[in-house]
Symmetry: C2
Subunit: 353 residues, 2 copies
């Protein structure tokens, strides 16, 4: 990160006072102690993140960030590259899964072009932070230059700050779209975790056994050729990452610095959040795992972050769809804190523990 | 069931045509095949239950049915019996967890007195189907007479029919309140499944180890004394059940007969749905498991029904709280079916599997 941004990057600690007051409040509500399980823990955690004993989640925003990947030339995806741009147009028209699930959760979708390999029309609602029309083929050389890696994280950081300054965001969901991006994510996860590619590689949008072997081989080749330094997150991003991933990492850093809870979606957005964590470990208490994706690398990252997802619905779509579903559980958890009656308010006798 | 009700009780089969059309539709939407996981399966299942390819869940109703239990005289609950009536008043004022979670899911809560041991004031919104002010102490004799067991199931059946006739219900959630009702539910589950009491008994609202042993001993005593016939569900209900459980079983039977999906909540409401299933196995395809409760008997019943819950959030509150949370996932699943664009509508290239 540049000095300018590093100086901005002061991520606060959890507000222990708000957290413990919320805990006291949840224990005074008309229900047996602890009987709402993880819903109670979640509400209390959100109080600690936001610094508010009864947080409200009025403005829920999903950043669905798109980028293309040069590595698709190696035949690692079941879909052609043009689908990235086609899906961006689908997002803008409101016909994709993320639009439907965000509407159901009363959340906004902000569609971001962080490196799509097409000239997208200037459309209402399309945010452009593009430095380049997709990454280079990491099987032949670095995916991007160190300057581009730095640049895209900063773009994400500034993007969040700008939107948040205009109207405060209460919770942010990380979403993405990019044909080939489970390949880049698997390479980046392997680099950051220092593990074998085969442990973090999955079928993405639907590879056969043969295609999956090929994908692992391509990732191995990219890692051998580029030698990302697992101790240097920005080096890993540059060599085997993607523009949407870097942008989402920047959004994560900016959100945490503003005490805004960050809801990760599936494998790719969790790689982005993990990258942010490796840039600044102080983001960790602001991360929430929405669901457990079918992609095998996802569970490894969640373990590394010591997070248990709220949902396990065998989803593997991305776009922010799991985050949008999880928003409804977050909303329920904070409404419990603010709307339920206490034992004394409701004149209900307490139990004898 | 009386002849009158048995003649009404024609539970239809799943609509395989609607189901397979919904499956075709979900496979044509702009996402990789199967990538929304259980959300897709759920939408398709709801199409089969309702007979509509794109079901809508506009009127979502939770029946929160209350009843008292004579067995509390044996000291099996951490809370005093008066809490049942106090919580009914809390439901009517909107301050309980179920009110909050139902509001969050845009669902109605219908509060039903099916046997509370108190004269509840005539209040707007309180539905009375009470035959008696609570069951007898099953540790000393049968919880209710065969006629009362029959009567309360019929009350539940007619209640659903009446509300549904006035304005169609699209999905129903089963909720309950009753101090002592995990004890009755454990006894009833043990009787219906023909298993040891210790396998289905848990800490309810928060028992200590000593209190849990006592509870198991009381259930054992009730089973030995009353000898419920595990092959006769109505005999089991009469001897060791509860009025809220019988009423919910009747609601389940009526809902399935009207093609209305039934969302079970935790242990107690699942015992009620299981009872309905034992009365008429045709209800099974209309049952949806909302969440997995901490109560150990819950998992046994879910296994017996071959159902996997949508949520695992360590909840154990009842009232219908898990069902209300699950309503939001159901809503998301049907909105995917009706609101997402197809590949051809959105001009997105399809993958090559």
């Amino acid at each position: 990160m540049t000095n300018e941004l590093l100086s901005l990057l002061e991520i606060p600690a959890i507000d222990e006072k708000a957290r413990s007051e919320a805990k006291r409040r949840v224990d005074s509500l008309t229900k047996p102690l602890g009987s709402l399980g993880r819903l109670e823990d979640l509400g209390v955690a959100l109080a600690g993140m936001t610094g508010r004993v009864t947080p409200t989640l009025e403005r829920k925003v999903i950043f669905t960030v798109a980028g293309d990947h040069g590595v698709v030339r190696e035949g690692v995806s079941a879909f052609p590259q043009e689908v990235t741009a086609q899906m961006v147009l689908n997002f803008l028209r409101g016909g994709a899964a993320i639009n439907v699930l965000a509407r159901a959760a009363s959340a906004e979708v902000l569609v971001v072009d962080a490196g799509v390999a097409a000239d997208l029309p200037k459309a209402d609602g399309l945010i452009r932070v593009k430095l380049k029309a997709g990454t280079e083929n990491m099987a032949q050389g670095p995916a991007m230059s160190p300057g581009e890696a730095q640049g895209i994280v900063e773009e994400g950081f500034r993007l969040f700050k700008r939107i948040h300054a205009a109207r405060a965001i209460d919770v942010v969901g990380l979403g993405e779209m990019g044909i080939g991006n489970t390949t880049a994510s698997a390479a980046l996860a392997a680099a950051l975790l220092n593990v074998e590619a085969s442990l973090v590689s999955g079928r993405g949008t639907g590879l056969t056994d043969g295609q999956l072997s090929k994908k692992i081989q391509v990732i191995d080749q990219a890692l051998k050729l580029n030698r990302p330094d697992s101790k240097d997150p920005m080096d890993c991003l540059a060599k085997v990452g993607g523009f949407e991933i870097g942008c989402l990492a920047g959004i994560t850093l900016a959100a945490a610095s503003a005490r805004v809870p960050v809801v990760m979606d599936g494998f790719i957005s969790t790689v982005a959040a993990f990258l942010a964590y490796r840039i600044s470990p102080a983001v960790k208490p602001f991360l929430i795992a929405a669901h457990r994706s079918v992609e095998p690398g996802h569970s490894l990252l969640l373990n590394a972050l010591e997070l248990r997802p709220l949902l396990e619905l065998q989803m593997r779509l991305g776009e922010g769809t799991g985050a949008a579903l999880a928003f409804q559980i977050l909303e329920a958890s904070v409404r419990i804190l603010s709307e339920m009656a206490t034992f004394s308010e409701a004149q209900v006798s307490e139990g004898t523990p």
